[in-house]
């Protein structure tokens, strides 16, 4: 966990299975599910880079970059 | 639609048959592709006052059904490849202690974890030789729901008749294919009940003394006869012995009671055998492919027939020999590298006319897999 603070989640759509975990538990409500049932960072400004979405994604589909 | 006609998987047919035969106790551990048997019985057994238990592993499941059987209950377990390997030590105990019990092995691709969800018939020889020490065992199989039902009832009957574990060797394709099953009326198939001893309380009961007809009446644990059951070589009271005559007799009894009744135990089905020049021999799901080929070729006028084996052990060698006599070629159709093939070769006088049509790549054996062999034998190339 050498990541820096300012990083934002990058979501690999092909790996995302749409479980909604990242969306539900993002402390800042920065993520939403789109109509294809994939997570997207809808509100990048809200994101604090807390990494929780990356750590909780069961599909390793999120990486903060 | 009649009430007793259902549309089910093979695994469900086995469950229905076991209940029909009086199954009262089941212990098991889940494993693909046999799991549905446990799942369904967890629902159905308590409805009839029977007991279902999911044990901590397969070996303990086998042990538990032996324990239950000794109290007089008809008992069964079900598993697949890896679990069947794990049960072997306890299966040997059932053989040695002559405890009726039914073991279902729904074969899958092996060895090891192999192909858990593919059909295979790789455990045929293991069914006979899987446990240590010289012994004999009964093994049955079937190719469709209706037959699976019948042989399952049979398995319970044989198990009680011969006081022996019986192995039901199905495969993934039979277990998971859904089709019609007509559940026989009560009494339509004879159900053999355990032969209880008529020896009175206080009189010496010999749990291991065969009657003149070879049968050994039992006394339930918890009943009025207190005897000993052991996996050691034992005398007619069930107590350990190393006396060589007693041991000799015990060993021969264990083997003879089964090998000596091969005719009685053997179940086969015949299709178009009368004038068959090309004889297919098959069993389990492979027999469906073989029958498909047979009917297909018959339509084209070829003299082909099918002998379907439902008893694998004791191997019905005489029956096979007789049936092969007039065939110019015999093709064993199975999903392994020729386990029954070798038995057929051993059984007949001209083994060079026996060929193998098989498949071991994990997919179900296709008609073309058999046709290719026929073509090659006929000299028409692959």
């Amino acid at each position: 966990m050498t990541k820096k603070k300012k990083m934002k989640p990058n979501i690999k759509r092909e790996w995302c299975k749409g479980c909604g975990i990242c969306v539900e538990f993002c402390p800042e409500d920065a993520l939403i599910m789109d109509e294809m049932e994939k997570a997207v960072l809808a509100y990048p400004d809200k994101c604090t880079g807390c990494m929780l979405c990356e750590l909780r994604c069961p599909d390793l589909a999120i990486e903060l970059v | 639609m009649k009430d007793n006609v259902v549309f089910v998987q093979g695994n469900e047919a086995i469950v229905e048959a076991a209940l029909y035969a009086g199954l009262n106790f089941f212990a098991g551990y889940p494993i693909t592709p046999s799991t549905e048997i446990a799942e369904l019985l967890s629902l159905r057994l308590p409805q009839k006052g029977g007991k279902f238990i999911q044990m901590e592993d397969e070996l303990s499941s086998m042990c538990a059904i032996i324990g239950a059987s000794l109290t007089g209950k008809k008992s069964m377990t079900a598993t697949s490849g890896p679990g069947f390997s794990l049960k072997q030590e306890a299966i040997g105990f059932a053989v040695m202690t002559e405890t009726p019990s039914v073991i279902v092995n729904v074969q899958r691709g092996g060895p090891s974890t192999g192909l858990p969800t593919s059909g295979s018939q790789g455990d045929v020889m293991q069914a006979k030789w899987g446990t240590h020490g010289e012994h004999a065992i009964i093994t049955m199989t079937a190719s469709n729901n209706q037959d699976a039902f019948a042989v399952t009832v049979d398995a319970f009957n044989l198990s009680e008749t011969f006081r022996t574990p019986v192995i039901l060797l199905f495969d993934e394709v039979v277990a998971h294919t859904r089709e019609r099953l007509v559940i026989p009326k009560p009494d339509e198939i004879k159900v053999i009940q355990r032969l209880k001893t008529s020896v009175k309380e206080g009189t010496d009961y010999h749990p291991y003394l065969p009657r003149e007809d070879g049968r050994l009446p039992m006394s339930d644990f918890g009943g009025v006869h207190r005897y000993n059951v052991t996996g050691l070589a034992h005398d007619m009271w069930g107590f350990p012995t190393t006396d060589s005559t007693t041991v000799y007799n015990l060993m021969h009894h264990l083997v003879d009671k089964i090998q000596g009744h091969t005719k009685e135990i053997a179940r086969t089905k015949e299709y178009y055998l009368d004038d068959a020049e090309c004889l297919l021999i098959s069993y389990g799901s492979s027999a469906r492919t073989a029958l498909h080929v047979t009917e297909d070729r018959r339509l084209r006028g070829e003299k082909i027939g099918l002998l379907e084996l439902q008893t694998l052990w004791p191997f019905p060698a005489e029956e096979v020999k007789k049936k092969c006599l007039n065939a110019s070629c015999v093709i064993v159709v199975e999903m392994n590298m020729g386990q029954i093939l070798h038995e057929v070769k051993k059984a007949i006088d001209d083994p060079e006319k026996v060929f193998l049509a098989n498949q071991i790549n994990g997919s179900f054996i296709k008609p073309s897999d058999v046709l290719n062999i026929i073509r090659i034998i006929q000299g028409r190339g692959a």
Binding site: - | M1, V5, F7, T117, H176, E179, R180, R288, E295
Partner: protein, 181 residues
């Protein structure tokens, strides 16, 4: 009757297997037919495309798997890509417009229906998509009667959901084109 070999394919959640079982059970128990049904099991079935085979015939069915389907139903693009090439020349290929784009040359009669969208529009519950498909299927193939399917549904489906399923089935039936078979 000719032996009819059918493959239903799609993704795990689409109810492919259930509809295959309903069809085969209807044929077996409520018409004087024989049917066998089977499906691919295992992790593959969990992740990728799911497939269920049905064979219906008035004779005994020996070989239980479908090699060259007369009728192929594909409800996802992945399933279409994987299975379309299996179809027997001259067979029927039924797909859903929303999920599948026809990209291959297939020697079959194509039936493309907008079942997914219609179900959402008319019934609002995607869960009965497979029953709608089954409605279209029986209307096209005429293999079993609607009433036979309904008998199976009545046995299998909790009372509260029966109407919804019946509607879906009928929706499918009305959507089906009349093919010369």
């Amino acid at each position: 009757m000719e032996k009819c070999r059918i493959i239903f394919s799609g993704s795990g959640g689409q109810g492919i297997i259930t509809s295959a079982i309903i069809l085969a059970e209807a044929a077996t128990l409520h018409e004087s037919l024989n049917a066998v049904q089977s499906q691919a099991y295992g992790p593959e079935a969990r992740g990728g495309s799911s497939r269920s085979d049905v064979i219906i015939s008035d004779k005994e069915i020996r070989y239980p798997k479908v090699i060259e389907p007369n009728i192929l139903v594909c409800l996802t693009q992945a399933a279409y890509n994987e299975f379309a090439s299996l179809i027997r020349p001259g067979g029927i290929l039924l797909t859903d417009k929303f999920f599948v784009k026809h990209e291959k040359k297939v020697d079959a009669r194509l039936v493309e229906l907008d079942m997914h969208r219609e179900v959402l529009k008319e019934i609002g519950r995607p869960i009965v998509f497979n029953i709608c498909m089954l409605g279209a299927f029986i209307a096209i193939t005429k293999l079993v009667k609607e009433s036979s399917i309904m008998k199976v549904l009545e046995k299998r489906i909790p009372h509260g959901f029966l109407d919804m399923n019946k509607n879906a089935l009928e929706l499918g039936i009305t959507m089906a084109p009349d093919l010369e078979l």
